[in-house]
Symmetry: C2
Subunit: 795 residues, 2 copies
Amino acid sequence: MTATTTSTLANPTDDEVAALDAWFRAANYLTVAQIYLKSDTLLERPLSADDIKPRLLGHWGTGPGQAFVYAHVSRLIRHTGQRAIYFSGPGHGGPTLVAAGWLEGTYSEVYPDVTRDAEGITRLCRQFSSPGGIPSHVSVTTPGSIHEGGELGYALIHAFGSVFDNPDLLSICVVGDGEAETGPLEGSWKGISFVNPERDGAVLPILHLNGAKIAGPTVLARKDPAEVRALFTGHGYDVLEIEGDDLPGMHHRFAAVLAEAYEKIHAIQTAARDGSWDGAMPKWPMIVMRTPKGWTGPEEVDGVRVTGTWRAHQVPLSGVRENPEHLAILESWMKSYGPDELFPGGVPSELIDANNPEGDLRMSANPMANGGVLTEELTIRPFRDYAVEVINPAGERLESTRLLGAMMADLYRDNPHNFRLYCPDETNSNRLGAVFDVSDRAFMERVTPDDVKLSRDGRVMEVLSEHNCHGWLEAYNLTGRHGLFATYESFAMVSASMTVQHAKWLEEANHLPWRAKIPSLNILLTSTTWRNDHNGFSHQGPGLINVVLNMRSAVSRVYLPPDANCLLSVADHCFRSKSYVNLIVIDKQPHLQYLTIDEAAVHCEKGAGIWDWAGNEEGSGKEPDIVMACAGDVPTAETIAAAQLLKEWVPDLTVRVVNVVDLMTLPRQKDHPHGMSEAEFSALFTDDVDVLFAFHGYHGAIHKLVHGRPRADRFHVRGFIEQGTTTTPFDMTVLNETSRYQLVADVLNNTRATPAGAQELREHCQQMLDRHHSYIREHLEDMPEVKDWVLNPAT
Amino acid sequence: MTATTTSTLANPTDDEVAALDAWFRAANYLTVAQIYLKSDTLLERPLSADDIKPRLLGHWGTGPGQAFVYAHVSRLIRHTGQRAIYFSGPGHGGPTLVAAGWLEGTYSEVYPDVTRDAEGITRLCRQFSSPGGIPSHVSVTTPGSIHEGGELGYALIHAFGSVFDNPDLLSICVVGDGEAETGPLEGSWKGISFVNPERDGAVLPILHLNGAKIAGPTVLARKDPAEVRALFTGHGYDVLEIEGDDLPGMHHRFAAVLAEAYEKIHAIQTAARDGSWDGAMPKWPMIVMRTPKGWTGPEEVDGVRVTGTWRAHQVPLSGVRENPEHLAILESWMKSYGPDELFPGGVPSELIDANNPEGDLRMSANPMANGGVLTEELTIRPFRDYAVEVINPAGERLESTRLLGAMMADLYRDNPHNFRLYCPDETNSNRLGAVFDVSDRAFMERVTPDDVKLSRDGRVMEVLSEHNCHGWLEAYNLTGRHGLFATYESFAMVSASMTVQHAKWLEEANHLPWRAKIPSLNILLTSTTWRNDHNGFSHQGPGLINVVLNMRSAVSRVYLPPDANCLLSVADHCFRSKSYVNLIVIDKQPHLQYLTIDEAAVHCEKGAGIWDWAGNEEGSGKEPDIVMACAGDVPTAETIAAAQLLKEWVPDLTVRVVNVVDLMTLPRQKDHPHGMSEAEFSALFTDDVDVLFAFHGYHGAIHKLVHGRPRADRFHVRGFIEQGTTTTPFDMTVLNETSRYQLVADVLNNTRATPAGAQELREHCQQMLDRHHSYIREHLEDMPEVKDWVLNPAT
C-alpha cells in the first residue's frame, strides 16, 4: 500500500464524509424504525401511536457505534478492494446489521420480498423481532454474518477462526464492552499468537467501549484509559484509540485511525509475503473506540440522562404508545436523521450508494460469510489404506486413535490449505501425533531449541482452551473449511454451550436456501471416562453425548466406534458430511480390535449389527434368550467377555450380541433420519426379548433413544453412573456395575428360566469380583504386579 | 504492619532460610517419592526396580514451584498470624500439596492411618494415584483445599469467591501458565474490581510461568516480560516479579517479594479499615514468578534437556523400572534433597517443623477451607411472609420471581455478612431487583452520577460472566456462606461444566467424615426457554436440567415450581439445605398463580400432587381415563387450559391433573432419595392409565426419570423439542407441540374410547390452531393488536 493510498484513506473528501454520514444516519434511522414502527416507516405523516408496534423489542444502544464502523469499513473496501467479514460481538444490535445489508442491497437480493424501496422498509420493520419474522439478534438470517449474536463471548474466537488459511480476508470484529467481561472473550485476544501473516488473513478487533451493559457500567469502560491501553499492549497489540461523539469530526478521526490500522496490517502481510519479514511476532493493530451508548439518540427522557448510560441499552423510550411526549421525542429523534433526504421515494439515496462497495465486496454479500459456496471437498484417501489387520476378533489390543492420526496426517498432506486439527495441547496424548509428521503446531511467539514440532509455519492448532479450539473450528467450518476438534471427553463440557449454539445455527441454516451447507463440526472425544482411571473423577464425565442428543435430529450425530477400523469408517463419513455436529467417542488407550476393515465398513454403514461370533445363536434356530447390546469400546469389551463366559458356562442359554456404532439408529425413523425401520429394529433386538445394554455414557441416553420402540421397558441399561476415582481401568467398570461379571449376573437375573450351569457361573463371577475387591482393598499393603490383571482380568 | 515487620519478613535469617529450604526439599522429595516409589521410600538401601510402582502416575513439573511458594507463605504466616488458603491452580501437582499437608502434620490428623513417620511416608506413597488411594490432583481429599485441580480455569475465580465477606482471609492463588490460557481464567483477573478491602479479604495471585504445558510452551511464558507486565498492569495490578533457580538466592529474593506484596495488601486493608482510604480502586499486588518447570529435577535425561521444558510436565524418567541408568538418575535426584537429614528416623526434622505455622494457622488446617465447620445458619423469615394471595387458582398473573426478590432482600437485611446473590447483569431483568433496596451492586471501579444502585459498599454481585458468578458462589459456599446464582436458563450451559465439577466435589466430600457439609449451590434459572420468545432461538435451551439429572442422586435436586408461592417454599427449602446442587427453574414473566401459600407448602413438601380443581375426577368413583401431568410454569398453564377444554367439551372423560414440583420424586426410591414409594407413585399416576406429561425441558429427562416405574411406556412426554425463534409466547408452545390444543389432541388420541364431544373438541382445537397459524402467517401484513391473544388465547 503506497503512502498516497494511506493518505487518501486517512483523509476522506467532503463528498466522502457526506456519504459516510448519510450511510450512518440511514442505518441509525432504520435501526430505530425496526424497533418502533409498524407503519408510516418513512414518517410521511405525523407519527401516531397507531404506527407503533404492539411490542417494543430490540437493542438500540450498541447500534449507532456499529453502524459507524460498518460505514467506514465499507469506505475502506471501496478504496482497497479488501474482502472483509464484519463480526458483530454485540449481536443484540441485530437491526443495525439488517439495516446494513438492506442499504447495501444484499438483503433484497437474498430476500426478494423485502424490496429496496419504501415498501421494503416497512417490511423490514414489521418482520423485525416479530412472529414469522426475524430474530432480534444478528443471526443465521443476517446476510454476511457467520456469528450468532445471542450468547456472548465468541466474537473474537470466530473472527480468528475465519482468517486461518484465508490470506485475503480481513475480519473486522466489534467487541462490546459487555461481552468483553466474559471468560471466553477474555481468553480470545491471544488469537494473534497463532496467526501467521504469510498464509492467514487478519483480524482487526475494535473494542467498543460505550460504557454500559443492560443495567450498569462495564469494567473496561470505567478503567483508566492507560490501564486499557496497557492491557491490550500486554496482549501484544498495537493499540489505537478514538473517542468522541462530535460529527463530522468523528468521521475524520475514525477514517484516520482505520487507515492507520489497515496500513499496519498491510505492512505486516506484505513483509511476510514478500520475504522481508524477520519472523518476529507482528504487532497487530486493534482499535479502542469510545462512543456514547445510544449515540445520536435522545439525550434525556423524563429528565433523566439516557444517551451514554445503560438506559440506552434496549428501548430507550418505552412509553411511546401511551405517552405523547415520548412519541414526540421519538419523532424528532427519527427526523433528526433526515429520512426525506436519505430515502427519496423510499429508495436509498445516491449518497448512500456512494458509500457501498460493489458486488461481492459488500460485507453483507461476502461469499466467505456463506462458506459453503466456497467449500472445496476434502481429498481423502481410501480409509481402507489405514486399516489394521484383524485376524481374530478380540485377539489384539491397539490404540485406536493412532490410526485416525495417520489418516489426518494424510489429510494435512493432501489438503494443505483447508484442513486443520484443533486440540487443547493434547494431540500427542490423544495419539494423534502422526499429524506432526506433516505439520508443526502453530505458534507465533518465541520458539526455542527445546521445542518440538512447533513453528510459525505449523497448522496444528494447540491452545489450552476448549473455547478457542471449538470456536476456531466453528468459524473455519463456517467459512467453508474442514477440521476436527479433539479433546478429553469430560472437558468437552467446558464448551458444551458452544456445541449447542453451533447446532442451533446449523439447524436454522438448513431452512435458508441461500445458505450453502458447510463442512460438519467434527468433535472427537477421546481420553474417555472409562480410561481416565489415572486422572480421577474430575476427568470422568460423558455428558456431551446427552447434550448433542437434545439437539435437533437434522444436525445431531453421535458415533461410538468400538475399534480402530470402525473409527476409520466413521471418520471418513464425518469428514465428507455437511452441516452436522458429529460427535465421535472412542478411547486412546490400547483396546481390543474386532472387525476387519471390510466388516467395519459394513457395520458402520448400517450403524448397528449382530456380532454372530460373539454370541451363540447361530444354528440354534430359535430366538435368543437374551440380547446383549453394547455401544462404546469399553462396554463392548465387557459385553464380549460376558458373552464368552455365558457361552462357556451356560451353553444352553442363547445369547445374541448387538453392537451399536451410530447411536442415532436407535430412535424411531420419525424421530431421527438415521432411525432403523421397525423391521430392522426387531431383527436386531427382537420384539420382546430382554436387552441388556452396556453403554459408554449415562443410562438416560439409551432410555431416551429407545423410547417408543416395542416394549422399551425391556432395555436394561448399564452405563456410567457417576462413580469414579483414580483406580484401575477394570475397577472403573466394577464401580459402575458394567464389568463382565456384573453383566453376567444381570443376564442371569433377567432370563426367565435358570439354565444349567447358571449357579456355578454366578459363583464364579462373585469370586472374581471378590478377588477384585480384595485386590483393591489390599492394594496399599500389597501392591502386586497387576498390570495384566488390570488390563485383562481372566475370564 | 510496621516497617520493622516488613523488614523482618523481607530478610529471612540464616536459620529461617535453612528451615525454608529444608521444607522445600522435603516437599520435593515426597513429591518424587509419591510418583515413583512403593517401598524403600526413605532410600535406606540402594534403590531397586522392585521399589518402583507398577504404574507411574502424577505430575512433577509444577510441584517444586508450588512447594517453594507454600514454604514461604508458611513463613509469612508464622510472622504475621495471617489466615490463608492456598489455591493450587495447577492442581495436577497433587502430590506436592499432599506432601505439604503431611509435613504440617494435618494429614495424619485427618487420616490417622497415614502416620507422621517412616511408615506414614510409605503409605503416602502407596496411596497416591492408586486404586483405593487418593487422586493424582489436588482434590476433595486434600486437607486445606477447596479447589479441585482437575478441570483447569477456575483457580482465581474460586480464590476471589473465598474472600468476599471474609476480611481476615488471604487467598494465595498459584495460577499455572497452562491454566492461564483458558477463557475462564483469563476472565477472572477482573475479580479485584469487586473486592472491597474494608469488608473483604485479599487475593494474592502468583502467576507461575514455568514455561510449558504437557507438550509445548505456553503463550505467556514466551511473551516479552514487558508485555506480561503490561497485561497485568492493565488488569489493574501492581506487578511484582521474580525469576531464577539459584538457591539459596531465590529464598532471599522471594521472601522480599512476598513481604512487599503482603505489605501492600496490609496497607490497602489498613487504610480501608481505619477510615483513611480515599475510596479509589486499590492497586492490589500480584507476583509473576518464573522458575524452571521441574526445578531441582534431572537437568538432562538420555542427552535431552528435561528441566525447564515440557518434558518435565509429568513423569520425567519413564523408563526407571527397565533402564538402570534412569534408576540411577532417580536415586541421585532423590538423594540430592538429603532424605536422611530431612527425615531422621522417618519423622520430619526440627528444621522442617520450624517453618510450619501452629495449629489452625497451617494452611492445610485452615477451617475456612472446610467451610462447613464455620457455617452460620441463614436467618430466614417465614416464607409465608412473602406469599401472594391466591383466591382462585389460575385467576391472576404475576411475575413469580419478584416474590423471591423480596425474600432475598430480607436475606440481605438479616444476613449482612454471609449471603450474596450472583447474577450476570440481570438482577433487575430477572425481577429480583428488590435486593437493591438493601444492597447495591458491588463495584470498585469509578462510579458516576448516572449509575444506579452501584457502589463499593454493594454486595450484589453482577459481572457479565457466568463463569465468575458460578465460581464465586461455589467458593463462597465452600468457605461456609450462602447464596444464589441467578441466570438466563439457556446461558446456564456456559458454566455447565462447573456445575458438573462442583457436584462431583460435593459427592466426594460426602464420603469424607472430616469435611463438614456446606451450604448448597443454589442455581435459579429464569428468563426461561418458553419465555425468551423475544430473544429468539439462541436464548431457548433447557439443557442444564439434563446435566444435573446425570449427577449422583445424593447431590442433584431439580425443582420446577409452577407459581410464586411454590417458588417461595422451594427457595426456603433450598436456602436451608446443605451440600446439594439445587436447580430451580421458573420464569420471570407474568404467569398464572395456582396455590395459596398453605397449599404450596404442602405441595412442595410432597414434591408432586393431584390438583383436584384442575381435573374432573372427584366423585367419579373410578380411575381417570387420562392423567395429565405437568412440570414447569408454562407447561402447567397449558395443561390446566387443556384440562379445562376437556372438562367442558367432553365431560364424560375423566381427567386427572398432576403437577410435579420436585422432579426427583419421579425416579424409584432406589434411584433417588426423593423418589416416591411405589404406592405413592401409583396413587398419583395409577398403574396403567396413560400419562400425558407436559414438561418444561427436553423429553428425555422424563423418560429417564420414570424408567423402571410401572409401564413407563405409557408416559407420553411433550416438552421442548428444540424449536424456537423470535415469536409470541403462545407460538413457542405450538412450535414445540405443547400448546393446550395439541395437548387436547394428544389426550383424545390416547384414550381408548371416543367420548361424546370428542370430535367437536378436536375440530375446535384445530380451528384455534389454524387461527393461530394464520395469525402468524399474516402477521407481517396485518400486525393486529394481539397482546391479549398472545398472552391468553381464548380457551
